[in-house]
């Protein structure tokens, strides 16, 4: 038999009023009270109440389906892993709202990267009428029901202790893939939170190593994948989730992943253009000077892959290369090798930047807002200066910016500047649908990161076609990468969900590693080409597996 709790408060007050002969409500008020209660009562266990509370919000069918699934079949504990741009925040908001309407959640803790705190607060308030508050003072934990904070703040004393004393009904964690390592302080912090209902949001779950998935699931539902020992024994040899059907089925019980292709939504088109750049004589000499280090400068490399990094920097800007070289020399003790002095000389002789010139031409011809992504801070600064010389306003953007600054920069770009120059880390979580031109000034080697970049503009809400310009310098590492990743295997035209599958099927723990190996350890140009061909062939093969033998027609 189920426990029945009788609310005693009404009874007590009623008896008092009987004794004091009042005061009594009017019949109309009495009726209004009952009607209010009827409007607020939940008629069924199943179904969603939230949509009728949110008439101005039109959730997409897949978002409603996710909310329903999580509540009806997953008992309110789930990893929401839709592809970038499908609206995980909306799904999380719907679920939270539904539980709040049903009275099952009162207090909720929402942990997100610092840069996204204010965006979450705004969305919850404006789209969902959930009075979420940004944590600024320590009393907020106790006094406010729905608090948004960064994990970094939350895990620190005295916040940590106060948070542990609160009775949270729901915990939501955005960018949860950052909790893949169970040895970190963040992981431990979240593990010790009481999680009655819990949502973990991540766009990139499958590319993770298998242990990382174990850690993520164990945070949500300890034991769902067995304990550590059992898991290692059963799945330890599995390198990727997709290769083990049983494990995949288990994970899918706690994870929902929608892909663009499945949503049936009409996406605006993506036009991809390759822009090849010819180095000037000085630039070419500088590039070759870096390449020459492979044979005589190796002693200075603190990390095995520094050479690759330097080559890529040389393709980006001499400023980027300079920063790295200077750092190396600063750390270096003893005499500076000849090759490095020469390199410094070469850096000084370069007076132009062919890539930047090209970018300038393009921006001038587009006459619309443009986003430039570069991997390097120094290039970012250089570009800002360079564009300014030509009367083009730009806004720099990077991951390290504080909470409010990101929003501020976004607004600046929206209203006052033509160009937005972002470094990699700046890509996360910011939505720039008002822009439709993206220049990949230098290409990331990890295709997932590239998708994160494009996802800033090519997402729900983008009504125009999107133009992507990929820059690469001829006869450099860049061109190789471009040929392999972006032309041979048509990465750009693919839908990213497939890419996930493909990479998983390939058992590629890290595509970058293979590429670096091809570049670094090849004795000759010929050997490198062969290695690259092999990688391409593997990807194609995995692709066939992913498509069940059918060729996927690019949309």
């Amino acid at each position: 038999m189920v426990d029945i709790e009788m609310d005693e408060t009404w009874k007590k007050e009623f008896i008092e009023r009987v004794e004091k002969d009042g005061p009594w409500s009017s019949w109309e008020m009495y009726e209004l009270a009952l009607e209010s209660a009827m409007h607020l009562s939940i008629p069924e266990f199943d179904g969603l109440q939230a949509p009728k509370h949110l008439p101005h919000l039109t959730p997409l069918p897949h978002q409603l389906e996710v909310a329903k699934q999580v509540i009806e079949n997953m008992n309110g504990k789930a990893i929401l892993a839709d592809e970038v741009g499908l609206g995980k925040t909306i799904e999380a908001g719907l679920i939270l709202k539904e539980y709040m309407i049903r009275g099952l959640v009162k207090k909720a803790l929402i942990l997100v990267p610092a840069s996204l705190v204010s965006q979450w607060v705004t969305e919850l308030n404006e789209k969902f009428f959930i009075p979420a508050v940004q944590q600024r003072k320590s009393y907020v934990w106790e006094q406010c029901d729905v608090v948004v904070s960064s994990i970094d703040t939350a895990k620190k004393s005295p916040h940590r202790e106060i948070i542990y004393k609160q009775q949270y009904d729901m915990v939501i964690i955005d960018e949860a893939h950052k909790l893949k390592n169970n040895k970190t302080k963040n992981y431990e912090f979240v593990q010790n939170l009481k999680k009655k209902f819990c949502l973990l949001l991540t766009a990139t779950p499958i590319q993770n190593r298998i242990e990382e998935i174990f850690n993520l699931v164990s945070l949500l539902k300890p034991g769902h994948l067995g304990n550590a020992e059992y898991f290692a024994k059963t799945y330890g040899k599995t390198r990727a989730l997709q290769t083990n059907e049983h494990l995949k089925a288990l994970v899918n019980k706690v994870m929902i992943r929608n892909r663009r292709v499945d949503t049936g939504i009409e996406w605006s088109k993506r036009h991809v253009k390759t822009v090849l750049i010819e180095f000037t004589k000085e630039e070419r000499e500088l590039y070759e000077a870096v390449q020459a280090l492979k044979y005589d400068g190796a002693l200075l490399f603190d990390k095995p892959f520094s050479l690759i990094t330097m080559l890529r920097e040389a393709c980006s800007s001499r400023e980027a290369l300079f920063v790295t070289v200077k750092n190396m020399l600063d750390k270096h003790e003893g005499e500076i090798p000849d090759s490095f002095s020469k390199l410094m000389e070469k850096i000084n002789t370069v007076s132009t930047n062919s890539k930047a010139e090209k970018a300038l031409q393009l921006i001038q011809s587009i006459q619309e807002k443009v986003i430039i992504f570069t991997e390097y801070r120094a290039t970012q600064l250089y570009l800002q200066w360079f564009l300014k010389q030509h009367g083009i306003t730009s806004v720099p953007f990077r991951g390290g910016f504080k909470r409010g600054k990101k929003d501020w920069m976004k607004e600046l770009f929206k209203n006052h500047a033509q160009v937005f120059i972002a470094t990699e880390a700046g890509g996360e979580g910011i939505n720039l649908q008002f822009c439709r031109h993206v220049i990949n000034y230098d290409l990331p080697w990890n295709p997932m990161r590239l998708e994160q970049r494009i996802g800033r503009v090519h997402r729900l809400g983008q009504t125009s076609d999107v133009y992507i310009y990929n820059f690469a310098v001829k006869n450099t590492v860049e061109e190789h990468i471009l040929t392999l990743l972006y032309e041979k295997i048509r990465l750009f035209e693919r839908v990213i969900g497939q890419l996930d599958d493909i990479l998983a099927k390939m058992n590629f723990a890290n595509l970058e590693h293979y590429l670096q190996d091809a570049f670094l350890h090849s004795q000759s140009e010929g050997e490198m080409k062969i290695k690259m061909e092999n990688i391409a062939a593997m990807i194609e093969f995995a692709d066939k597996l992913a498509n069940g033998g059918e060729t996927y027609a690019a949309t």
């Binding site: 189920v2 029945i4 009788m6 409500s25 209010s36 209660a37 939940i42 008629p43």
Partner: protein, 263 residues
């Protein structure tokens, strides 16, 4: 709740609370709040504190509430209300607070002027919440005849058909209850409990099953550990809160009704 229902509800609410409705038309209304309603809805305690301290002239606010988009309302400054708006929910809460307790008498429709006895009834509208990791409500309206102990359901529907007044009508007299209000409430509570026990409890069985499953997983996760870490106990407690089936009975409102005897 449709937009016109919201409009109607708001008009009734403000009228019932003695606020002047200055303007009302298709899709909107303008209300002059009374001092009491300003304090109830506008959340400005400092202003009222100040006025009361300084003896200033109180100026309760006016509210423009818009329930429909029309050409007229597009040009209006005001709050747009729909079923999810915080303002409407504030008003729902206020209505429930202000309409909790009642005592009414039935006015006779016949013209006969003999002395009419009015029988005491205890009316209760209750909400039964069935809750685990899911939730459902059921509203029950009960009436208890405080003389015979008879209990009837859908009591509120019956009351709606009668003419009820706050003062005892002429030529009527009330019969004292044999059952005191406190024990009357007790009888209704027992009635509710009996009724609940006859419900279908599959939902609770299923919740317990889900609970047991997750608990087994959790135990397996920490299996073989001599001393279980604290997060084991935290998680265990969280599972209890998540799944444990409960039924919560709360009174929406209720009161005493003196009614004509009927056969």
């Amino acid at each position: 709740m449709q937009q016109h229902e919201i409009q109607r509800f708001l008009e009734r609410y403000f009228r019932a609370n003695e606020c002047d409705i200055l303007e009302t038309d298709d899709g909107y209304m303008k209300v002059q709040l009374s001092v009491e309603m300003d304090k109830e809805l506008m959340n400005r305690p400092f202003y009222w504190h100040y006025i009361e301290r300084t003896g200033g002239v109180p100026a309760p606010m006016q509210l423009t509430l818009i329930t429909k988009q029309t050409e007229k309302t597009n040009s209006l400054e005001g709050e747009r209300l729909h079923f999810g708006s915080p303002r409407l929910h504030q008003i729902f809460r206020s209505a429930q607070k202000r309409g909790s307790f009642i005592r009414l008498y039935e006015e006779s429709s016949s013209c006969e002027q003999t002395h009419i006895p009015l029988h005491p009834w205890l009316g209760l509208n209750v909400k039964i919440a069935y809750q685990c990791d899911r939730k459902k409500d059921h509203i029950l309206s009960l009436g208890l005849h405080l003389i015979s102990g008879t209990i009837i359901e859908q009591f509120h529907d019956r009351l709606q058909k009668l003419k009820l007044v706050p003062k005892i009508p002429d030529y009527c007299f009330t019969i004292s209850p044999l059952i005191k209000p406190t024990s009357g409430i007790g009888r209704l509570e027992r009635y509710i409990q009996r009724r609940i026990s006859q419900d279908d409890h599959t939902w609770a069985e299923q919740a317990k099953k889900r609970w047991a499953e997750d608990l087994a997983l959790l135990d397996h996760f920490y299996e073989g550990m001599e001393e279980k870490p604290e997060c084991y106990y935290i998680e265990k407690e969280a599972l209890k809160e998540q799944y444990k089936p409960r039924i919560i009975v709360s009174v929406i409102n209720g009161g005493l009704f003196y009614l004509h005897p009927r056969t």
